[in-house]
């Protein structure tokens, strides 16, 4: 842009309209000065437009409070050596009953790439089908790519004996 505008002076087109009293050297300075002002103006405009847009593109924090606890169903419905997925807030979690009858709950989000894990009855492990990651029933990595163990939740039983529901909460 600025080259073209300096170049215009030599075209001689507007010499009548824009008097050049001080001679060519200072006219060049003046042109340079005006060009700079103009460029600064354009750049400022671009920045004033780009800034709000760049801020807008970043999604706001969802504002969703971190879920503290959730009900994972009736304790009696869960058979030994099985696991069931349930919703813990907006993310999946899994509640399992060991062969000994102990109930445990974990986040079902694999620590590798966020797939959802499932209970493997034959090995009594938590297994992620995406990249074959396995966790034991303590949530610890047994094999495969997961870098960390699964987040473990606190399990409480609530209600009349025999009809308790499983209440899962963050530790």
């Amino acid at each position: 842009m600025s080259n073209a505008m300096i170049g215009r002076r030599n075209s001689g087109d507007d010499s009548g309209r824009y008097p050049d009293p001080a001679g060519s050297s200072s006219a060049f300075d003046r042109r340079l000065f005006l060009d700079s002002i103009l460029s600064i103006g354009f750049v400022s405009t671009a920045a004033a437009i780009a800034y709000p847009i760049s801020r807008y593109l970043v999604p706001p924090a969802t504002g969703e409070p971190a879920t503290a606890s959730a009900v994972a169903g009736a304790a009696s419905a869960l058979k030994p050596n099985s696991g069931v997925l349930f919703k813990f807030g907006s993310r999946p979690a899994i509640v399992v009953k060991t062969i000994d009858g102990e109930i445990r709950a974990f986040s079902a989000v694999c620590t590798h790439l966020d797939c959802t894990v499932q209970f493997k009855t034959d090995t009594s492990q938590l297994w992620c089908a995406c990249h074959n990651g396995t966790y034991d029933l303590g949530g610890n990595v047994v094999s495969g790519p997961p870098p960390r163990s699964l987040e473990r939740f606190v399990v409480n039983l609530r209600g009349e004996p025999g009809q308790e529901e499983i209440v899962v909460s963050r530790g």
Binding site: M1, M5, R8, D13, P52, I53, R55, Y56, L57, P60
Partner: protein, 359 residues
């Protein structure tokens, strides 16, 4: 740096033709030259609509259960979301206003005359498209006013003789205005109309560039008689003036968006009564009020039908103007068309004002 980049491109794709064209393009200087800027200003706002519209798509959800909430989320939670949405709404209104001013000025200057009939044609179709954009976009926030305005608007389409019922179902995606209507209007607003408008804008601009600017009839005659036409260089002289006009538009738009937030209103409730004082966007007011004034029957035909037919004929007339105004095409004065333009403008202004304040 800039020069080296250009040279690099030039070496691969010969730009000499384009460079020659820009270097030699001239814009006439005369007393009516101010009207030349309106088209560019409208184009600028079209660009604003494209950019802000795409940005709104990032958070907007087109469903009856989520649309209102998502717009609320944009204006209250997303950083600068209020700015983007206000800009989009205000820019839409300014765009219709400027496009209309552009249209009237071209009409009065008779710039549609031979050889620019196609430019007029593409322009008038663009104007209709802009009204379509306004009508379809109005519903998207799914608030009370837009919900009922869409009921009335699509109802008017329903009173087109013979095909009315079909048209109404086509527009609404069913018998009533529902979430299905919202999906349709969304598709029309963000995909169909933009595709059509882009093609038409390109055609319109290519024609303007190819044929150069039209000069008023009187001046054209004097030039034919040998008087030299005063001109300025398109680049950079005219371009810089154009940019200045865009800055004015941007300043007005930014001020409106910042100080006069566009209301979101209440969420649409199909089972709530129509809120009092419901009326369409200002650019449909004249039409809205005309239909209100028509008696229920005219010569045994339903008043609504007569009104809709009349507006259809008016639209057809506007499209045909360059072909009807033979005098202007021969380079003669055509006072009849000037009178038509002025009468039409007066009707629009008066009916818009009455429509705004009448109950």
């Amino acid at each position: 740096m800039m020069k080296r980049t250009l040279d690099w491109v030039d070496e691969r794709v010969d730009l000499s033709g384009l460079r020659e064209f820009i270097a030699h393009k001239r814009v006439p200087i005369h007393t009516q030259e101010i009207w030349y800027y309106l088209g560019g200003m409208t184009l600028f706002l079209f660009g604003v609509q494209v950019v802000t519209g795409i940005l709104l798509l990032l958070y907007y959800r087109p469903s009856a259960t989520e649309a209102y909430e998502s717009v609320q989320f944009i204006v209250s939670q997303v950083e600068f979301g209020w700015l983007i949405r206000n800009m989009h709404s205000w820019s839409a209104n300014l765009l219709v206003g400027l496009a209309f001013a552009h249209f009237i000025s071209v009409f009065l200057l008779k710039s549609y005359r031979k050889p620019r009939e196609l430019t007029w044609l593409s322009g008038i179709l663009l104007l209709f498209l802009m009204l379509g954009f306004g009508f379809s976009g109005y519903l998207l926030p799914w608030n009370e006013l837009s919900f009922f305005a869409t009921k009335v608007g699509t109802g008017i389409a329903g009173s087109v003789p013979l095909i009315g019922k079909f048209l109404l179902r086509l527009l609404r995606g069913g018998d009533d205005v529902t979430g299905a209507t919202l999906s349709r209007f969304y598709a029309v607003h963000v995909a169909m109309l933009p595709a059509l408008a882009t093609v038409l804008v390109v055609v319109h601009l290519l024609l303007v560039q190819r044929q150069g600017m039209s000069v008023p009839l009187k001046l054209e005659r004097r030039v034919k008689e040998g008087q030299p036409l005063k001109e300025m260089k398109f680049f950079p002289n005219y371009v810089l003036r154009d940019v200045l006009a865009w800055y004015v538009v941007l300043a007005v738009l930014a001020a409106l968006a910042a100080f006069y937030p566009w209301e979101l209103g209440h969420k649409a409730d199909p089972f709530a009564p129509v809120p009092a004082g419901i009326r369409p966007e200002w650019y449909f007011l004249a039409m809205f009020h005309t239909l209100k004034l028509l008696p229920s029957h005219i010569l045994g035909i339903e008043g609504e039908h007569v009104g809709v037919i009349a507006f259809g004929l008016l639209g057809a007339f506007l499209v045909m103007v360059p072909f009807l105004d033979r005098r202007a095409s021969r380079g003669e004065r055509s006072p009849i068309f000037t009178a038509i333009a002025i009468l039409g403008l007066a009707y629009l202004i008066v009916f818009t004002i009455i429509g705004r304040y009448a109950n």
